[in-house]
Amino acid sequence: MDRTIWHKMQSIDSRYIYAALIVAILIPLFCSKLVYLNIPSKPSIDFYNTIEHIASTEPNGLVIVDGQWSSSSRGENKWQTQAIVTHLMMRHVHFATLSFDTQNHTLTNEIVTALAAKYHYVYGVDYIDWGYRPFQAFTAMLKGLDTDIPGTVVHDSSGKPISSFPIMKGVRDIKDISAIIEISPTSSIDGWLGLVQGVNNTPLLYAPTAISAPKYYTYLDSGQISGMLIGVKGAGDYESLIHQPSFGTRATGALSFVYALIILLVVIGNIGHLKLRAMARTETEK
């Protein structure tokens, strides 16, 4: 039996699959004008609505943006950070950035300073950088934020006491924080859930990598997490919600192409397989 079409369909050489995968990624990478069919998921919409609510009801509310990602997961967390900070600046919400990873502090600063120039955000008035703390201090800092923020944070990343900045006026403890945003590939949000969120029921928003999202669906159901951006698709969702398409949208487009390719391959493989099985069965019946 020479190699029929059905044989070829169920045993495509892997190298063709890999070439097709690269093409599926490069098309959206190069064509930024392509419009992608993307429907924001409910957790992304909840994330967006929480920030919108704060923007309209608490004009001077302060939001904490905690980053724990580094270059190894920038493929997802960088675009989430950029979309979130853009939205905060668009709706003029005050925020303070905090990092427990040295690389994250530089990467987050690059994003924030670039966007601050575009939205005329003034350091110390509209936003502030609480700087980097070693991860060993994570638990102690979280407990400190519950009761005494100036005493726990003490200085900003340039060493100046944070109470000297207008943005920190009237900010004493967790009751003065409008929301906490955690952007991380690890399960560091367990610390915020366990030590901070329950104190004053502060809305906790989470931007994980897609692989670590399933573990936290239970907290979405129970309301302990108010919204979630899941992986790079979460970034794409958020960019479409705030109408600021950037690389997150194109990466989500690439994801759609890749998923379509994989599902197409699975269908082709099964057609070939089932057809051959049917032919083999008729062969044996003869």
């Binding site: 490069l26 990478l29 692989i211």
Partner: protein, 228 residues
Amino acid sequence: MTDPNGYLQHILSPSLLFGALGTIALLSLVFKENKLYRLFEHIYLGLALGYDVETTWTEALRPQLWDPIVHDGQWVWVLTIPVGLMFYGVYTRRFEWMSRLVFGIFFGAAAGTVFQDMCQRFVPQVRKSFKPLVPPPPHPGDIHATLHAVSYVLNNALFITILVCVITYFFFAFDIKNKVLLLMARSGRLVLMFAFGALFGATIMTRMALLIDRMYFIFVDWLQWAPK
């Protein structure tokens, strides 16, 4: 290209060039093992081993051996050196058993923490499995009260059934002849396959995002052919 000299300097900046060539060489393995891959594989192994050695000194031996001895006068740490030498008995026939002695100490240490691990990580999972099969009293004003109650009970019943069936699959010594138990074990394995499929599907997005990021690194950060 507005400024060819600037572009050339960007393309050839050492760190970026080294990273980009290495990325292309290493990813070329998926098509075919080749000389360029082999070269960067060995460079990567050399760099990683060098980094192992450097971090062994800066993060283990210096802070916990050298500094205490030289700065704090804790000379007693020198006594760890003979114990460390026992590892190298593996290269001799006469002292080979000495390496087993120090390996044995490490086996014991690895085993010794299992009690705390089981109490701290595992038993809470047993406790969290006590899922009631009677619904909680409805919230006032909940128009779907009966619906919520039914879904609560069904979900918990399903949870317990899957848990017990999967555990039944992992019985080895009891010769299961009973029809019901055999069915439970068989369905336990099928549910496992279904769960593993879900796990596979949930992992794809993060892995694909990594490849998209590498393509971004090559075609945007480095070559600047694609828009930012």
